[in-house]
């Protein structure tokens, strides 16, 4: 059963994604900020990470850089949740190998489709 880590500072968004992913039969780990998310990665090995870009304390780009810096998580697919305002960082995210982007607000069904595509599962 694929394991997914969701990192977002909005508890409602975390809960929404968690609910929908569990419906799909995935195991879900959640974190309310970047540091907690990175902490989880020390013990867990998720198959995919859904990461919000705009977060206080440590923003998504910094979290992504640290994810890529660790050998264990260097090749984990990451889907970024972006606000439209953050287009400038897209170039850098591309270099850090991002599987896909989902623009907030998003349709949960589209997120599911992108997760399946990244995990190479049948739609």
């Amino acid at each position: 059963m694929p394991k997914i880590l969701v990192v977002d500072d909005e508890p409602d968004v975390v809960k929404l994604v968690e609910f929908r992913m569990q419906k799909e039969g995935f195991e879900v780990l959640t974190a309310g900020d970047g540091r907690t998310g990175l902490g989880i990665l020390e013990t867990e090995k998720p198959d995919l990470i859904i990461l919000d870009i705009m977060m206080p304390l440590m923003d998504g780009m910094e979290v992504l850089r640290q994810i890529r810096a660790h050998r264990a998580s260097a090749r984990v697919p990451v889907i970024m949740l972006t606000a439209k305002t953050a287009s400038v960082t897209v170039d850098e995210a591309r270099q850090l190998w991002v599987s896909d982007y989902v623009m907030k607000p998003f349709d949960p069904e589209k997120l599911v489709a992108k997760v399946k595509k990244a995990l190479k599962l049948p739609a």
């Binding site: 409602d12 968004v13 929908r20 606000a83 305002t85 400038v88 907030k104 607000p105």
Partner: protein
């Protein structure tokens, strides 16, 4: 007129550039270069008049062959139409296919259009600026306006450079005279020289007494400058009779030498009776310079002498030596004082041309002029914008206490029916010329002003208008506590200094205005920046809750939380639709704000436009089906790829497709075609909807514009979609347009550059 920011700072630079050169030859090159650059022109020719009555002559060029400049200059009368200097109107020539020199130059150098800009000074034409463009058609209005401003700056700078050259030249000439006269007869030696002449005369004729008297240039009275063998009583007697009723007076009046053989019997010396100094015979000769008698040389003997005509001639030639010495000394004194004046003026002019700060300049002008003319106090008043009031710009010698007392005088009305309007300063401005009053108490014209003059305790006043070129800027007033009459040279000097000051002031004021405009422009930019920041922040803050609202509604609608009854399903659909609208509104506002602030960036990559179009039609499938609108596509095969931002290209297509759905009736059809025209890929979205009236077509792409009919009013929209679409197409280097007829559908087309061989 509004000057774009870039040009504004360029004008500011030009103004500084001009003020840095006082050499005319250097200045004209700068003017030609600056004019060409700011108007984005290809070449320029500058012609100037040396004197107002002279013809225009070649002065400088920029990117123009010497041969062309010569042709233009030699034949100027034939091609240059009459320019009216007082209107400041430039002449725009869009057709240079002419047979005259201008046409030949244009043909030889490949210019298609030109603008002739007059340079005026003091209401007369002093020069002309001919600016050429290679590109055909009318030059941009802004370019012409900027050229007028440059011409205006140039006019002041040229006048200033000439004034400085003149002052420099004059002071050099005076330096020569000064040195010559100094070697001939320096001032301290004049007395010695006169004494020597008198001694020589007495020795020559064996006489015992004599004197040299000179006519005072101002009082016209006779002054004793040298004497020998005269008792104190005689001297006193002579001093008491400085007028014409004396022997010397007769000689001056008649300009003739005279021999008095017997003092006792000669009628000219009848008044000598009772003279304690024994004198029997005398000779008296006029001292003549040119045709003017400047004094008298007289010798006398207490023994009787039979002076001959030969003696008289000898004395006359001695007299002319004295006259030369005196004249030299006078010239020396005059040269010395004029040299000092010219040097001071030259110093002022040089300082003026290097200052661009208005308050500093005002203070400098009034302080230096007041001190130079030994005025007790002085004011520099400037006309306000309406031209009805004078505002005090700077003062000299006036204490703060006095200012508090006379505060109302700091602002002065020009209305002649008021006491202030009767002031010498107001009169000077009204008449546009210098007003000098040596005693205000005795001048009938300023009866009303006398009280104020008494209060301010001044007797004399001189006012000179500040006229830089055509319109007066203000007036300089110098006040003297004692009765003071300035000499004509002093008045001339004051006027020259006022003119130089006025030019410098005008330039500084223009510069200040340019600077102010730039500052306010920056403030506006700051406000606009804050607005963008605000919109960004608000839209992010709105988007966060919307993400949760929309996400949960869709979870429920998708049935993940269990089944819904039809009413619940219907109501949740309404919530969902309205959430979509809110999201769309926030997106549109954010987009327009970023577009307007120039902060929307495209991520360009080679794209297959067909794929984007198919995707967007698919995304609108449910809306098409909802209204029963049929959609067909006609896509040319083998289309080149385009360089585009995939998200934004999708947004352009989505906007046009959703508009087509919104404004089409049920059961109609929409067709999307994609083809290639030249180097562009062309997309058309064709509907058979309500159509657009001709008068609305032009306004369609304005932000917040919405069509004026019931269907539009009944349909949701922010009025931002097409404005954003228009901008996005623009940013991709494409074009968008609409063809439509009211009631017969619309076709929105946009083109986007193809990647060559892509």
């Amino acid at each position: 007129m509004t000057i774009p920011r870039k040009e504004l700072s360029r004008l500011h630079e030009i103004s500084e550039l001009f003020s840095a050169s006082s050499e005319l030859t250097e200045l004209v090159d700068k003017i030609a270069g600056a004019g060409t650059a700011i108007a984005n022109a290809d070449a320029c020719w500058l012609a100037l008049k040396v004197d107002p009555n002279d013809p225009l002559e070649h002065a400088a060029t920029c990117n123009l062959a010497t041969k062309s400049a010569r042709m233009l200059s030699d034949d100027i009368a034939a091609w240059l139409p009459e320019m009216t200097p007082d209107t400041d109107h430039p002449l725009i020539l869009t057709d240079l296919k002419r047979k005259d020199a201008l046409g030949k130059v244009a043909a030889a150098e490949g210019y298609s259009s030109a603008v002739l800009v007059p340079i005026t000074y003091n209401k007369s034409l002093t020069g002309i600026f001919v600016v050429f463009w290679k590109e055909a058609g009318e030059p941009p209005v802004e370019a012409v306006e900027l050229l007028l401003l440059v011409a205006h700056l140039a006019s002041g700078a040229i006048a200033n450079a000439r004034l400085i050259a003149q002052a420099r030249h004059r002071s050099a000439a005076l330096d020569v005279i000064f040195n010559v006269t100094q070697t001939i007869g320096a001032s301290p030696r004049i007395q010695q020289a006169l004494n020597v002449i008198l001694d020589e005369a007495n020795r020559l004729f064996g006489t015992t007494q004599g004197n040299i008297r000179l006519v005072d240039p101002k009082s016209k009275l006779l002054e004793i400058r040298a004497h020998k063998g005269l008792s104190r009583i005689t001297l006193k007697y002579m001093q008491d009779r400085p007028g014409k009723k004396s022997l010397s007076g007769w000689v001056v009046k008649n300009g003739k030498p005279v021999i008095i053989r017997d003092v006792k019997t000669d009628p000219l010396t009848a008044h000598f009776h009772g003279n304690p100094d024994p004198v029997s015979s005398m000779m008296s000769v006029p001292l003549v310079v040119g045709s003017k008698t400047i004094g008298v040389l007289t010798i006398g003997s207490h023994e009787h002498r039979e002076f001959s005509q030969e003696d008289l001639s000898l004395l006359l030639s001695l007299g002319s030596q004295a006259a030369i010495v005196i004249e030299n000394a006078r010239l020396y004194e005059q040269a010395k004082s004029r040299l000092a004046e010219q040097k001071a003026l030259y110093g002022i002019a040089e300082h003026l041309s290097s200052t661009l700060d208005v308050p500093t300049l005002l203070k400098f002008v009034i302080n230096h002029l007041s001190a130079f003319f030994h005025a007790n106090f002085g004011t520099l008043r400037l006309l306000d914008e309406g031209g009805a009031t004078l505002m005090t710009g700077a003062m000299y010698g006036i204490t703060d206490e006095y200012i508090r007392h006379a505060n109302e005088n700091l602002e002065m009305s020009l209305d002649p029916s008021t006491a202030q309007g009767q002031s010498p300063a107001a009169a000077c401005l009204r008449e546009g010329r210098l007003v000098a009053i040596s005693n205000i108490a005795k001048d009938r014209r300023f009866a009303e002003w006398r009280k104020i003059a008494k209060m301010q305790s001044f007797t004399s006043v001189v006012c000179v208008p500040l006229v830089p070129s055509n319109e007066p800027l203000g007036v300089i007033s110098l006040y003297f506590q004692d009765a003071r009459k300035l000499a004509p040279e002093e008045l001339e000097l004051l006027q020259t200094a006022a003119r130089a000051s006025a030019i410098a002031l005008q330039r500084a004021m223009l510069d200040e205005r340019l600077l102010k405009e730039e500052v306010s422009r920056r403030a506006l930019e700051e406000v606009s920046h804050l607005k963008t920041e605000f919109v960004s922040l608000v839209s992010h803050e709105l988007r966060t809750p919307l993400t949760s609202i929309q996400g949960y509604i869709r979870l429920i609608l998708a049935g993940h939380t269990g089944g819904l009854d039809p009413v619940q399903q219907d109501f949740l659909n309404a919530v969902n639709r309205n959430t979509d609208r809110l999201v769309a509104l926030v997106d549109d506002l954010l987009d327009i704000s970023r577009i307007e602030s120039g902060r929307l960036e495209l991520l360009l990559e080679p794209l297959d436009i067909t794929e984007t179009i198919v995707n967007e039609i698919e995304a609108h499938r449910s809306q098409f089906e909802g209204k029963g609108i049929g959609v067909t596509t006609d896509i040319q095969t083998g289309l080149p790829r385009v360089k585009a931002d995939s998200h934004r290209l999708g947004q352009i297509i989505a906007n046009l497709v959703s508009n087509a759905i919104k404004y089409s009736g049920e059961g109609t059809s929409v067709k999307v075609t994609v083809g290639q025209i030249g180097q562009n890929v062309l997309v058309k979205v064709i509907d058979s909807g309500i159509g657009i009236a001709p008068e609305e077509r032009n306004r369609l792409f304005e932000r917040f514009y919405r069509g004026d009919n019931d269907l539009v009013r009944a349909t949701y929209g922010t009025g931002l979609g097409l404005a954003i679409t228009h901008h996005l197409v623009d940013m991709h280097g494409g074009k968008i347009w609409v063809e439509s007829e009211k009631g017969h559908g619309s076709t929105f087309s946009f083109s986007i550059p193809a990647i060559p061989n892509g």
